[in-house]
């Protein structure tokens, strides 16, 4: 976390290595660092969220209280989400500060800037939900591997989907239809080009993207709740 903020500040130095257009390098490092470090935080905190409570038996006195399992999972998840929110806000502030320092103005602080970081939070919410889902029925290590693989596959799929859709074989299109439902299409939640190039992001587009991610995370969390409710804590 501290490292990520330092990286953003350090991006000024990196940006001086290039010819012109330092702005884009600072912006790219800021948005990418938020995504990459946020994803790692979301996954590695997320996988410990439930499985660690079971392994260390700290959930026993909590689950024997008048709360439902779903409530427990949701509460833990919301706690993690608050951590991620803080993380994203800090990174956005650091990026904005560095960009403002470099530019001498804050014109880039528009809706697109806010939407990019807000949608990054939605991405992290999906990652965290994946991690929590896996951690309800497997070990932390396995859960981390599984969630990172699916997040990675989600990014890959966002890139190759276009090629596959234009492929000759009809079965590729069937595969795309199936993966559309199964995998989180992370690139739908990614508008960081808007910060780099000052694109306009409409409120409707941002809301639709946010709703897609929130819906996906909600499905995962529901699954996690169902699995955890059926699980015996021994």
């Amino acid at each position: 976390m501290v490292f990520a903020v330092l990286l953003v500040i350090g991006s000024i130095t990196i940006s001086q290595l290039t010819l012109g257009e330092q702005f884009r390098i600072i912006a790219n490092i800021g948005t990418s660092a938020t995504q990459v470090f946020g994803t790692l935080i979301a996954v590695f905190l997320g996988v410990g969220l439930v499985s660690k409570e079971i392994d260390r038996r700290t959930c026993y006195p909590a689950l024997a209280r008048p709360i439902s399992r779903a409530g427990f999972v949701t509460g833990k998840y919301l706690g993690l989400l608050a951590t991620l929110l803080l993380n994203v806000v800090l990174m956005a502030a650091a990026t904005a500060a560095v960009l403002a320092f470099y530019r001498g103005s804050a014109v880039f602080l528009d809706f697109a800037f806010a939407a990019t970081f807000a949608l990054t939070l939605v991405q992290l919410a999906v990652c965290a939900a994946l991690a929590v889902l896996f951690s309800t029925f497997t070990t932390a290590t396995l859960a981390a591997i599984c969630s990172l693989s699916i997040v990675g596959a989600g990014w890959l799929f966002g890139e190759v989907r276009f090629f596959w859709l234009n492929a000759r074989q009809a079965d590729m299109k069937q595969l795309v239809r199936v993966l559309d439902v199964l995998l989180p299409n992370m690139s739908l939640l990614d508008v960081k080009e808007a910060v780099t190039y000052g694109d306009v992001v409409t409120v409707g587009s941002a809301l639709a993207r946010g709703a897609y991610g929130a819906g996906y995370a909600a499905v995962l969390l529901l699954l996690a709740s169902v699995i955890f409710s059926r699980r015996d804590i021994r």
Partner: protein
Amino acid sequence: MADLAITCSSLSKTYRLGFRARKVEALAALDLAVAPGSIYGFIGPNGAGKSTTIKILVGLVRPSAGRAALFGRDISDPRARLSVGYLPENPSFHDFMRPLEVLRYLGRLSGLSGADLDRRAEALIDRVGLGHARDLTVRKFSKGMVQRLGLAQALIHDPPLLILDEPMSGLDPIGRKEVRDLILELRQQGKTVFFSTHILPDVESICDRVGMVFKGRLMKEGALQGLLDGTVRAVELRCGPLTPTLLEALAPVTGPATALPEGHAFSFASVEAANLAAARLLASGGQLLSLLPHRESLEETFVRLAGAVGAADERPLP
């Protein structure tokens, strides 16, 4: 039904273990009824199903079949757990928290809040003897301190029913006495205490009722006195030193003697036989030291039952 503190009917649990889903029957049609205001000792060998029963009651494990209810409310309803305070076996808490934080966190989950919660937490910290440790994190706690904190969290919401899994384990003799006193005090406040243990003297000293569970079945259940009163197994007579002549003369009524530092001891099958022998002894100038009826102890009952069900081949259970 006048709401019993705990009712279980045909409660069963079959665990599936490992990749091949090997079935292990942890609990087989267990029936149980615990009346409010009593202290109920739940005893059995390791792996008999004590912990499984308790975990089903507090909602950690789902029963495979059968029903259970706390104060008439089915355990599938989370609100059933409003009325229960649970002390897990070897409890464990987030080790970065201080005791007051643990109590506030768990108290809030039981629906407490604000000044009421703070007040109760403060009082319980002192009540369980952790007042000196309020600024330490749980990481630095000894096993006994964690156990005390476990008791405090079970009591934080002042529940009418306490379910304690091995509450004495990990405590030194003083701690055990404190826990015993606490349990007795709770009964005086009208609470129901249900606890599992394999330390039988603890049960004998404080329980009203006892259930013995073997291989997932309740084998014997009843009031402690009822379990023990049944028969006088033997009466022991002790007397001062006797001359060999006198020993021989008394032999027909006393049977063989056992030598003791202070004299001799005799064992009789009935009170009547003992009385007869005592009368002869006194009449022949012997000195009567004591006359003690030997009832079957809980331990003997337990061992006898264990032998009957072949509990020696215990199955390891998680």
